[in-house]
Symmetry: C2
Subunit: 158 residues, 2 copies
């Protein structure tokens, strides 16, 4: 069971395999989620990242761009054009903060606010896309959360 004489580290072969499968599993599942949500979101004209922004606004009200980025782990290079589209679709407003004109405050229009109810209905109607138990979902969420935390801390070594 212990390592061979030739190599001190016996594990690598299997670890590489598992590790590869885990990172790919995350990658592929993210795409699968986006695809699963797509037919639902198409009805209200949102993409999945746009939906995430709307979720943040529904929950927390008006926010500066930076805070939205912190919530979703996205930078302004991603958010600026995305928010511009949401604004063009009449779902949000963007106004410069009078107190600090570097900031842009994002808020919901009545239309954007109203969409919350609509989405809720649709999501409930569609129901359990995941097909997992509540316990499994919570377990995965927590594991992924820890994993993400670990990965985030790794970036400093370069």
């Amino acid at each position: 069971m212990k390592a061979q004489t030739t190599k001190t580290m016996e594990i690598p072969q299997e670890e590489k395999r598992l590790e590869k499968q885990l990172c790919f599993a995350v990658y592929a599942t993210a795409h699968a989620f986006t695809r699963a949500y797509k037919p639902i979101l198409d009805r209200v004209g949102l993409t999945y990242p746009q939906y995430l922004v709307m979720l943040v606004l529904w929950e927390r009200g008006e926010l500066p761009v930076k805070t939205i980025g912190e919530q979703l782990d996205l930078d302004s290079g991603t958010l600026s054009p995305l928010l511009k589209r949401l604004e063009q679709n009449g779902l949000i407003k963007r106004i410069r903060d009078l107190r600090d004109e570097r900031q842009v405050i994002v808020s919901l229009t009545p239309e954007g606010q109203a969409m919350k109810g609509e989405i809720d209905t649709i999501m409930t109607a569609i129901g359990q896309a995941a097909g997992c138990t509540l316990q499994e979902m919570a377990e995965m969420r927590d594991m992924l959360h820890r994993l993400r935390g670990n990965l985030g801390r790794a970036g400093t070594g370069g």
Copy 2:
């Protein structure tokens, strides 16, 4: 054991919330993985999706574009330009199959083959970055695999 009058359907509500959280956890962790890989992959001049393609080729040898797409769950709209870049970087070759000229067979150049040796370093670094036990990684991989399977089947309802 039926619900009280105040909160008629407590479970669905909770389930919906969990699904949203799980969905975002997968989304954000996928980005975290890509970022964690980036400084390492930068050294060999690969992006993360390009690295996945190379993994498939290292494991399975020369393959038509379609098969690579099946392995990674990507279509030709994504793969065609990606493969073109790998070819321009001298890592792969693309030749039309003489038996069936609709197909393009992708194979590794000596340079691409040689790069396989460097993945050892890459894998080890990321494995450490993940900071999980082998058991945890295996557990998550399996859960995500099942989840992905369920999501794939959900798309037909639209």
